[in-house]
């Protein structure tokens, strides 16, 4: 089985962000990391690699400096990397990014693509489904459990009330949520081996993507303004004075908020 795991380089969520004049995060201004959600998609791929002898390739769309992110992903024990680097991609929205990823996937053979359900920077959750739509393959998103048997993939698709069991024929695209597994730490052996794993860097032209399909200028979504999230408001504190009044107060609060 061949698996591709698309990953993203994201700003460290704990770091201070610099927003440039183009209203995008200046990715070279702060510390960047492998998107933490990708640790879960990589872990799932590594588990399939261990149990089913899958070959796993990591795919990254990003600037040249993101190569360290590809190596980081490879250090978990993946087999090789494909990096799409092209200045024209800068500022792409979710749809533009999906177009590039779809073309990159078309350039390779694969049975299963495992995305994280969202990236910790944009958090649109759109890309996996958009890629599946562009490629005309099944899309199984928000997986909290994943199994592959023969040419069938089964996931538990998480939603507010629990989960649905959804299955599809391979090839298929899956996105996973953080509840799916407990990611491992890369071993030193893996870290050292990552240096010598094959990594192909390709341009838009190599993939047959026209520059007018991607980039800030061709984005379907336009950012007009932004502002920091308002600070968290203080919650309601119910003090227990031993009289039992607190329980009633708590019950009223739950009814008021429609929890009960």
């Amino acid at each position: 089985m061949k698996i591709i795991v698309p990953v993203k380089r994201t700003p460290d969520t704990a770091a201070e962000k610099v927003i440039g004049d183009d209203r995008t995060v200046d990715r070279d201004a702060g510390e960047s990391v492998l998107c933490p959600v990708n640790e879960f998609s990589i872990e799932e791929a590594v588990r399939l690699k261990e149990s089913q002898d899958a070959e796993v390739t990591v795919l990254l769309v990003g600037p040249e400096s993101a190569q360290s992110t590809v190596r980081k992903a490879l250090s978990y024990g993946l087999d090789g990397g494909l990096q799409v680097t092209d200045d024209a991609i800068a500022g792409s929205d979710a749809l533009g990014t999906a177009r590039v990823i779809a073309k990159a996937l078309e350039s390779r053979e694969w049975d299963l693509v495992i995305f994280g359900n969202q990236s910790t920077d944009a958090r649109t959750c759109l890309v996996p489904a958009a890629v599946a739509e562009l490629l005309g393959v099944p899309s199984l998103t928000y997986a909290r459990h994943l199994e592959v048997e023969g040419d069938t993939v089964t996931v538990h698709r998480e939603h507010e009330e629990g989960w649905d069991v959804v299955e599809a024929q391979l090839p298929a695209i899956v996105s996973v949520v953080e509840a799916i597994n407990e990611p491992r730490y890369p071993s030193f052996k893996g870290i050292m081996a990552a240096k010598s794993k094959p990594l192909d860097v390709v341009s838009l032209a190599d993939l047959g993507v026209s520059a007018d399909e991607v980039g800030a200028g061709n984005a379907a979504a336009t950012m007009y303004e932004f502002e920091p999230r308002p600070p968290k408001e203080a919650g309601t504190v119910v003090e227990d004075d031993g009289s039992g009044a607190a329980a009633a107060q708590l019950a009223d609060w739950m009814v008021d908020k429609k929890f009960a």
Binding site: S68, K72, Y185, F188, K189, I191
Partner: protein, 384 residues
């Protein structure tokens, strides 16, 4: 420009270990201190992560890394909030098992080194006795030949991991001291702790390093098979002198890294704590104290890294290693003591880690060869 000995791969390893230490070890440090026992799961978990054999060849379950990868582990473990844990792990990785890799047979490597790297067997090093410490030639634990094997009698004390160990790399007398060969007659053995006559006589109570189990071991007519002999019979003294270099160096690395951790927390406290209307870091006396310590730690680190570089190339200089051990042990305690002073009453309170660190770091000046022993080694090698 990169001026450190560490590569980007070492940096990645460091990030990975730091996360493990912060997420999985540090939250338990206080509980282990109170229990007087590091949870047993730490060994197999670290084995699973490949952290118990970073510098061991891959064929024996190690990660095949260089010595700097071991340095990274020793440095990062100082972030766990317990002095006991780096010591217990250091015994496993850098004191009890290197002689197996260096002197052991293929079978011994498979039977002891591999499970030690996996964390499924816990290792101890058995040198000190009730009447002999750094004076290794004075040890009395005795092995007498018996058929194809040996029978052991004697005692070992201050044995780290000794209460829970699966095996002890033990220094034992195998022949009477010969005035013509004062270093002969001593041998190393790999002693399994479930042999009849092997007894953990006591779990010793200590000032510090309280989460680490320290044992007094008694051996009474313990039957030991012939293949438990590690290396060459009667050559154990030389072998253990080699082992002690690695033990002292890893201790020195931990000492310097621990001093940095202590210094960082002292700095943070002095910036927070106000007296007479300003943070105490605003007083010249505080700043100069911190600067002096930082300067000494930098200097000690440079000496230790130089010795690590030599060790990494397969060389070692006994005099330098003794200097590293001496300076790091003294400094770790000095910084801990100064930090207690800077913390005032809070430093003396059991509520914070300052006093734990003060108690833990005191051991370094005694264990693994006391300050005075290091000075004697240096003095001899200098021909004073």
């Amino acid at each position: 420009m990169r001026t450190t000995p560490f590569t980007t791969e070492h940096d990645a390893l460091r990030a990975s270990i730091r996360r493990f230490v912060e997420d999985e070890l540090a939250p338990h440090a206080r509980e282990w201190e109170e229990d007087g026992w590091i949870a047993d799961w730490v060994w197999p978990r670290m084995g699973e992560l490949g952290l118990l054999g970073l510098s061991v060849p891959e064929e024996y379950g190690g990660q095949g890394g260089d010595y700097w990868s071991t340095v990274v582990l020793a440095e990062e473990l100082t972030r766990c909030g317990s002095g006991s844990l780096p010591m217990a792990i250091g015994v496993q990785t850098d004191m009890a098992t290197p002689p197996i890799l260096q002197f052991g047979t293929e079978q011994q490597k498979q039977d002891y080194l591999v499970p030690a790297m996996q964390g499924t067997k816990i290792a101890s090093i058995g040198i000190s006795e009730p009447d002999a410490g750094s004076d290794v030639r004075a040890i009395r634990t005795r092995a007498r030949p018996d058929g194809d094997g040996w029978v052991l009698n004697g005692s070992k004390t201050y044995i780290t991991n000794g209460v829970r160990a699966d095996f002890v790399t033990m220094v034992v007398r195998t022949a009477d001291a010969d005035p013509g060969d004062p270093w002969g007659g001593i041998s190393l053995f790999l002693i399994e702790t479930d042999l009849p006559g092997f007894e953990v006589a006591a779990k010793l109570d200590k000032v510090g390093m309280r989460a680490s189990d320290t044992a007094l071991l008694h051996l009474e007519d313990v039957p030991v098979p012939g293949d438990a002999l590690l290396g060459t019979v009667h050559e154990g003294f030389k072998q253990i002198m080699w082992q002690l270099q690695g033990e002292r160096l890893i201790g020195a690395i931990g000492g310097v890294a621990g001093a940095w951790r202590t210094w960082e927390s002292a700095l943070a406290y002095t910036r927070e704590r106000e007296a007479f209307g300003r943070p105490i870091s605003g007083f010249q006396v505080t700043r100069h104290t911190l600067v002096d310590l930082a300067t000494e730690i930098e200097a000690a680190q440079a000496l230790v890294y130089e010795a690590c570089d030599a060790w990494n190339r397969g060389e070692y200089d006994v005099e330098r290693v003794a200097m590293c051990k001496l300076v790091a042990a003294q400094l770790a305690f000095k910084v801990a003591d100064t930090s207690m002073q800077l913390h005032g009453g809070y430093g003396y309170s059991r509520e914070f880690d300052v006093e734990r660190n003060w108690r833990d770091s005191r051991l370094a000046r005694i264990g693994g060869g006391a300050d005075e022993v290091q000075r004697e080694i240096i003095s001899k090698l200098m021909g004073l």
